[in-house]
Symmetry: C2
Subunit: 451 residues, 2 copies
């Protein structure tokens, strides 16, 4: 049992000065007890949850911003072909090295937890590994090595489209039976612990058909699904199910507060209201959605309806929660020609409102008691450097606005604690150099093998 004293801390809804907590043996905050405490200077805020991502895609950051010579136009769907090609070259060891470095980048950026939406399960030829959870275990090792809080979401992925079989490029992702998937899932659930939760994902309504989706619903744990990311997906769903994706899902599946609806970009006002009423978290990935040209989610409508959000770095083209939130708000401003769209009378600071909401929604989405600094929740926190040039001159009223919106130059993130353990000090992860060396040699080998 250790204890911490925070000079300035962002609690559930507001800043407080001189707050103390104990940290229990599970890495949770607890009411303070007598004894020595570690004093923490700087602006202390809850660690951000990275609610959605695919770790292996970190290796293609920057490789798909180039127009393909044979195509007149690039899109999400051509990007996906490049991504499949990369996915088919990655071994469990590669994945561990990529994910470990990615998690270092996340921790240094202020993410203290990550939900891994993990669908590269099998060998490149589609056969299961001797341990069918071998790729999942690579993710678990990477998280343990770096000290990040993990929610592993093995993905059920069975079809190539609403009426199409899987293609050869997708065979590493495939499970043909929910029962087979469930056995792997049960095995992974034994790995749960203070820093590890295990849930499941249904890849999408394209890849998981209704009867399979209903079977998956009997599994315990956090449940995630990609939904309504692309307009073509909406069109196909309308044609096949006679309803839009979110509308269909909420009418046919018992979606509640263990669910995260990832993207939900293309939704009507009615669908927004239904999502908010369901208690589910809407998982927004602004930098990837911008990079892939998905579209702009109607955030203001969801917040007004009392909906919940998380953010995710998804493809990891950007690994920075500040940029996710900045781009999220800017998308709204560009859409509505107004400013401070996410703010309201209760939370007038746009940056503070976005950070609090995304951290809290993120905590809900990953099934850990993470995302806010209160007793009973995870001791996951980020200390901002008050001497960072972006934060000079700011007080509680605006410091998170400066943190999120004033960008360029070194990040104000100075120290990061997960589950009561310091993993980043003075901007550097405790094991940065060794993890980077392994990442580097992995990427260089992958580049060589892909020609």
């Amino acid at each position: 049992m250790t204890a911490i004293h925070l000079r300035r801390a962002l609690l559930a809804e507001q800043w407080a000065r001189g707050v103390a907590f104990s940290i229990d043996d599970n890495g949770l905050l607890a009411p303070v007890v007598a004894g020595p405490t570690e004093a923490i200077d700087g602006w202390v805020i809850p660690g951000m949850v990275n609610g959605h991502g695919h770790a292996f895609q970190r290796a293609m950051a920057g490789l798909a911003e180039r127009r393909h010579p044979a195509r007149s136009a690039d899109s999400f769907w051509t990007w996906r072909e490049e991504m499949y090609r990369l996915a088919n070259h990655i071994s469990p060891e590669d994945l561990e090295a990529l994910a470990a470095w990615l998690y270092v980048e996340m921790l240094e950026a202020g993410y203290t937890a990550v939900a891994e939406f993990h669908y590269v399960h099998h060998q490149p030829d589609g056969r299961p590994y001797a341990d069918p959870a071998a790729m999942s275990r690579a993710i678990l090792r990477a998280a343990t090595r770096t000290g990040i809080r993990l929610t592993l979401l093995p993905v059920f992925y069975a079809h190539g489209g609403f009426t199409e079989p899987l293609r050869p490029l997708q065979r590493r992702f495939a499970h043909t039976q929910v029962s087979e998937f469930s056995r792997v899932y049960e095995a992974l659930r034994t790995e749960r612990g203070p820093l590890v939760e295990v849930g499941f994902a249904a890849h999408s309504l394209r890849a998981v058909w209704p009867v399979e989706l209903m079977q998956l619903c009997s599994l315990p744990g956090p449940a995630h699904i990609h939904i309504a990311e692309q307009r073509a997906e909406v069109t196909h769903c309308l044609r096949h199910h006679g309803q839009r994706p979110v509308d269909w899902l909420l009418d046919h599946v018992p979606v509640d507060d263990r669910w995260s609806l990832i993207h939900a970009t293309h939704v009507t006002t009615e669908e927004v209201a239904k999502m908010a009423a369901s208690g589910a978290v809407v998982g927004l990935c602004p930098t990837t959605e911008g990079n892939l040209g998905d579209g702009i989610f109607p955030l203001a409508d969801l917040l007004e309806a009392g909906g919940r959000i998380s953010i995710g770095s998804d493809s990891h083209i950007t690994v920075d929660p500040r940029e996710e939130l900045r781009l999220l708000e800017y998308g709204q401003r560009l859409r509505t020609h107004a400013r401070n769209v996410a703010a309201d009378a209760a939370q007038p600071s746009t940056g503070q409102r976005l950070w609090i909401d995304a951290a809290r929604g993120g905590g809900q989405s990953i099934g850990h008691p993470a995302g806010a600094l209160t007793a009973g929740r995870c001791a996951d926190l980020v200390v901002l450097d008050p001497d960072n040039p972006k934060l000079i001159g700011h007080s509680e009223a605006t410091v998170l606005d400066a943190f999120i919106f004033s960008s360029g130059g070194a990040s104000p993130v100075r120290d990061v604690m997960v589950g009561g353990q310091w993993v980043v000090l003075d901007g550097r992860h405790r094991d940065r150099d060794a993890i980077f060396a392994a990442y580097r040699s992995t990427v260089e080998r992958l580049v060589k093998s892909r020609g």
Copy 2:
């Protein structure tokens, strides 16, 4: 005369290996002559031009992302009130300290030149300083101190709107006669030198009326104007002039390649074609335009029409050319639901095409021979660290895509040269600490005086 040998350099249109230049006494690149050369490792690219900005606004970064309690909605126009309040507290010494630190941030981010659209001319009560160019000279000193290339654009600003007088809050900006402005302008023109150019700006069609605009056109040098940033401005211009702003300007003013049209957000297809045909540069400020909720400029149309662009950090809420270009491209993707919008067959790398175009257009816009690495142009260059985690595994084909689009963590900008002088080495400006200390005390005093 010194000489440099670049192992890998981005020349006018493409990468080359093993390129050498001499640097002449004016800081321009020249054909190499015999003698010792300094070898430069890393990815060498032309320095970026920051084509539009107002230095004093750096002090309000993060202060206006908070919803005003008395207002139901914030907008560009309510933001402008906050900005005026700040402007009215700044002395020449304050401005020098703010601008010097801002220019350090720019140089460390890879900007090697800046166009200062400078309109805070007079004392807070509206009377000229004893030296009417006192505020302009503060900008000149800041640039000289930091080593950034400067184009100073004193702004003529005479009216509060198409039919409105200036308001008291705008009195520091006012000149009532072009003749009076011209005398200050002539005095400033004597400051021109290898690193300093002086042009002028007309604030906007709101603030400068047609007869004044025609008088300004007789002045030499680069010419800039804010135009069509906000929809209300388009409405008012239509009402007053019977034409949209860009349309009116191009029909009534001899706009040519010395001109920069700043923002030009709200334009029709016909206006885009006219801008491209004029030879003028369109000055885009994506992060500020996102922050202020201006709207998304139709970049793809302009590039297709052969138009020219620059980028600017404007309000300096973000000081990072990578983020300007990333957001510029993402805006297009979100609008069109396609990817790699700025790329084409000749320049398939989106990042490379954006960097080359914005640097070259920026050079044109500021009246220095900057923006490309060829003999006769400025020795302004940026060296990217090949060991930066974002650049690992990349070759010439994609390195600028990774540089611009893969974000989070430390910037790959390692060393920066302006006019043949190293001003940033290993990511740090040569005079960083002293300039930051002055910035810090200035901001802390300004915050205190504003309460």
